[in-house]
Symmetry: C2
Subunit: 371 residues, 2 copies
């Protein structure tokens, strides 16, 4: 293999594929990135056997070939080089890199040892805007369980629904659901659970540019492709909980508040929570036009913050939440104003954006029940 | 105690005193900040029994008094409040705080339990520019030992010298020395070792504004005062090593290089160092007008970077360093160009700034000697 490429392209490509590497030292090749010439381009691939990522970058290929070298080292090294042409040449399992006043020789591993990333031959079942998908993922992934003891909820549920994709995540204490319009496909009904690690990685590498993302699946694999990037992940087997039934039909009390004011009140209150159980009491007071956020611990003291509500509908309610669960959503909901809602029986709370995407997103949160 | 002050002043004051608190749970009052009314001001004080810090802020005092409350909690809380007037009132050992829509009650500890911070009655022995002192500290403190097994070098050596203060720090592998001009005093000869923790704290709170710092000492204590802030620290007992004799009389080879280029070369090379021993070989090559930085490990590979030298004097030399020791200095030396120097016997290296402060600073670094 012999080629030249720009430092910028190689650095960007390595950043895209750099996280889906294995940390298991029993198979050292998993911590390597596979470099393969592909016509007039260089393909970078990594895998941790669960997620595989690849990215194509422009290159001037003099001699075809393949090699694997430590991904982290190569990425660190290339990131530090000046923005100039980089010459790359494989000699046996060594990779020679030269650029300007830099000359390196990196020890690699034969490309034969690199595991195959599964190919998905099926046609994409849906195409969505990359920007919309990134927004949707940001709004829901924090609600997913992240412990492997319940793998079916340590993932994002994805279900096509006519011209829409419904995405949901829950850890059984809170639930986030977002509906994304597709730009093509989604005729056939598809349902799957994608591991949270793959969704976090997809969210990380989805560029801010609005590139279309094609989603395809076969057997127990899913592929997201956009631009020159592909991410393939195994799917979680099992049944996703029937979460729709915990979304209340009616959320009687609705208070319209500023996202920033509510967030500040919650953050401030959290300093007054008990060390072991973070808890705030939320009280709606329609006559005063405020939502009170109250935190108290025997050890620290007490804080009461009144958050002004632009509008309160429904009766006065009192409910206890983990403040972090509200903050996670407020940080990602994406609107300046939000609607805080409580059911008449004070057994479920919810947050919805006011303005953009009002109809497409809901966040359900279970109260802390006193023993 | 009853007073009002602004959120900005209280927040700034708590940031100044917030770090010199005790972490030892056997004396919980050490993690508290002492609030004392002082004429028309509010005094904030903290101590960890080694360092004591205090700061005066403007306040409208209605009723004199004293109270202590958890420093971290108060600081977190006040930082989150909007920039408005804050009302503070002590009720027994509780502190009531209200501001806008916030109302808190923080449980405190009686001020009688707060330890006395030593008073230094002696007149200051020197006065220096705060900006100069901050620059000097930044340029030397990283070279100090930080393990308590050799307390006399886990500190900064300070010696007055006619109208100058000489500051030095060493961990026995490298040594940094800086001379600061005094603006007043320094007639009498004073010599002391200030613990590194106090110097790090002083460096943190010395504002970027050029306030004069007065230094006074008595017995085994030193006080730095500037503006409305005071920091008192115990001194380290013992004899500072006679470091002057390790500063070479002659540094035969001198290469003028760009700080940025040398730093990048060192950082890049460090990826190729052995995991356990970070090491780079530095070679001066006068005929090529370059300094070569070479790193090699059997496991990872090899990198050679040529750093262009504007000027090289003296013969070609080769010496091995811990790259981090050079980087620590380059990050803090404060000039774009530096002089890299090596003795003729290749047993000592040095860095000096080129330009501002050229005569006032030297950094000595011991080579890695092959076994």
């Amino acid at each position: 293999m012999k080629l030249t490429c720009t430092q910028e392209n190689l650095s960007k490509g390595l950043t895209v594929v750099g996280k889906s590497i294995g940390k298991d030292s029993t198979l050292p090749v998993l911590s390597n990135v596979l470099l393969t010439t592909d016509n007039k381009r260089l393909k970078l691939s990594t895998t941790n056997l669960e997620i595989g990522t690849s990215c194509l970058i422009g290159a001037k290929v003099e001699k075809e070939g393949k090699i694997t070298v430590p991904a982290q080292l190569l990425s660190n090294y290339i990131n530090n080089l000046p923005a100039e042409q980089i010459n790359i040449e494989a000699k046996g399992t060594d990779l020679k890199i030269s650029s300007g006043s830099y000359n390196a020789n990196i020890k690699g591993i034969d490309s034969q040892e690199f595991p195959l990333i599964p190919k998905i031959e099926e046609k994409p079942f849906a195409k969505v805007s990359g920007k919309d998908l990134k927004t949707a993922l940001s709004q829901i992934i924090f609600a997913s369980a992240n412990d492997e003891s319940r793998p079916e909820i340590a993932g994002v549920y994805l279900k096509t629904d006519k011209s829409k994709i419904r995405l949901a995540a829950t850890d059984s204490y809170r639930l986030a659901e977002k509906v994304v319009e597709v730009t093509a496909g989604a005729e056939e009904e598809v349902e799957m659970i994608v591991p949270i690690s793959a969704m976090l990685e997809l969210n990380r590498i989805l560029s801010e540019q609005d590139e279309a993302v094609e989603i395809a699946s076969s057997d127990n694999q899913v592929r997201f492709s956009f631009g020159d990037v592909e991410l393939v992940s195994r799917l979680v087997e099992g049944q996703y909980p029937e979460y729709q039934r915990i979304i209340p039909k009616e959320l009687e009390t609705k208070a319209q508040v500023s996202n920033k004011e509510l967030s500040t009140a919650l953050r401030t209150s959290s300093f007054f929570s008990q060390k072991d159980v973070a808890e705030v009491v939320v009280k709606t007071k329609a006559s005063q036009g405020v939502v009170e956020i109250i935190a108290e611990s025997g050890e620290v003291g007490k804080n009461v913050t009144k958050v002004k509500a632009e509008k309160i509908e429904g009766g006065d309610r009192e409910i206890s939440f983990n403040p972090q669960y509200l903050l996670d959503c407020l940080l990602n909901i994406g609107t300046d104003k939000v609607s805080l809602m409580i059911t008449a029986d004070e057994k479920v709370g919810a947050l919805k954006p006011i303005g953009a995407g009002e109809q497409d997103y809901v966040y359900i949160i279970m109260p802390i029940v006193k023993k």
